[in-house]
Symmetry: C2
Subunit: 339 residues, 2 copies
Amino acid sequence: MSASTAQQPSPQLFFQTINAHQKTEALKAAIELEVFTAISEGNTTTAQIAKRTGASEKGIRVLCDFLTIHGMLTKQGDQYGLTLDSATFLDKRSPAYLGGAVEFLCSPTLLEGTKRMTEAVRKGGTAMENEGTVSEENPVWVQFARSMGALMFLPSQLLPKLADPNADRKLKILDIAAGHGLFGIGFAKNNPQAEITAVDWKPVLEVAKENAEKAGVADRYSTIPGSAFDVDFGSGYDLVLLTNFLHHFDPPTNEKLLRKVHDALADGGRAVTLEFVPNEDRISPPDSASFSMQMLTGTPSGDAYTFAELERMFTNAGFSRSTIHPLPPTFQQVVISEK
Amino acid sequence: MSASTAQQPSPQLFFQTINAHQKTEALKAAIELEVFTAISEGNTTTAQIAKRTGASEKGIRVLCDFLTIHGMLTKQGDQYGLTLDSATFLDKRSPAYLGGAVEFLCSPTLLEGTKRMTEAVRKGGTAMENEGTVSEENPVWVQFARSMGALMFLPSQLLPKLADPNADRKLKILDIAAGHGLFGIGFAKNNPQAEITAVDWKPVLEVAKENAEKAGVADRYSTIPGSAFDVDFGSGYDLVLLTNFLHHFDPPTNEKLLRKVHDALADGGRAVTLEFVPNEDRISPPDSASFSMQMLTGTPSGDAYTFAELERMFTNAGFSRSTIHPLPPTFQQVVISEK
């Protein structure tokens, strides 16, 4: 585009944005039909992919072209291929397969929240009844625990390397809102002297216990069923993990919880928080900054907090010092707060 | 991003794509709440925009940051601003305001088609009952006529300049599936000797007639209510307009219609087709190539046709020659076919 046409207004972004929901549906359809897996198996033409997926040739042609346009496939002549990302995350046979995460990310609860965005903007929080996703024992968290493990597998391996790099001493670890349990389990695998206590709703903990069993760390894995706001944590922990949890609540609620976390830590203990942390401008980096929308539509008062906001919450709860650390290649950040 | 990290697989595109529906909802919410109009009026801080739109400050902050991240607003410090595109197309007071197009583009019918994409891919056409959007007298076309005029205003001014540049002789013009009527009306405004006959369902023609009245060309505007496949067009037309129509049907159906168009043209007459025309690779240019998805999910057998495919349909229907012309700055193409 020349400099002069770049100055002309264009309705292109309007069109692309209003039709963006097609991209969500196309990825869902391709996962459901196992299009990526079919291509990985060597079915690369429209006819071959259609045969393998039980779909029409025309439908596959339109879907695969659409996925190519939007960066999820390649096309050379009449042959479709996987990108590095789709081969890694969307082929069912890949150990890093993420397709299951659709069950949580496109669950009726999350979709309803997004659908009612106008109301949420008016109100300043989810338009859903009963506090949205953070309501008591909301079954969406069992769905989360069952389907989001794959997406958290990489960060759950990286986080222990950051917070327990030497892995050479006994560690008592509390994993708050453990979900799939992968973060606590990651610490247990990283350090054979680590002992994990996981807190979450009872049906969610069933998933975490299964995962601890599979990972061979069940003998160092215990659980406390219930709300993190209500249960007795015990005391003397070296580390308390707060992974993707604080964003669901407002600062006073978080501070109340963090005071309880502070009390449960041993002297010299640390809280390890994994979060979507936007910069002070709140518009960068884009993925972390965008996350506040998910919280607006899904929770009564959650948010994506800046480091300054998180630091203030920890300070108000009695912590002496918080530091922020990237966790590449993920776009999340780790805040380590010392008692 | 460095070369080495660019080689690592990342789940970022997966996340962005599965959450793309948030962008659709954010644009809808901002239009509904008149956020762009509010900013244009000088309300540039979260507090001011919230007051003007009757929404919460937190909701406005999250929405405006989200719109900024996705290119629809600017942000400097705590001040939001409009982009060139949003000032032109999303401020209600702008003559080129497109907000109304949401009523058609996000109508329950179009959304249902998109929602049932997996079924459509399996089947090779819309999963909706009764032929989807092309069913007889589907009320979505009244919605189309009422709400899509603004989006078509610019092309409806450009098309007559291309097909009737001298505007110096009497022209008898047939406007097939006229909808809002803007294309025929554009020709009538361009050339005081042009006489338009518009074909569409009766309730749709009411909208076209209103628009012809407003444009001051009602005395040269007549209508033929009914399906373009069934009604008698008459004969002796110099131009037949086929704007955004052929994409709804399969080639044999189009050829049948085009033979009828051929018969209705005077010697030396031309069919003027406005379409989304993908290149032979069907993945470029992206906006036109993506359009085939809308047809897959919304119609039984529609498609975005390449120029070679369109040319073949016109040739099979008896036309002697077809040529393709861009219509900048729009991303649509014009095919002119000579009798």
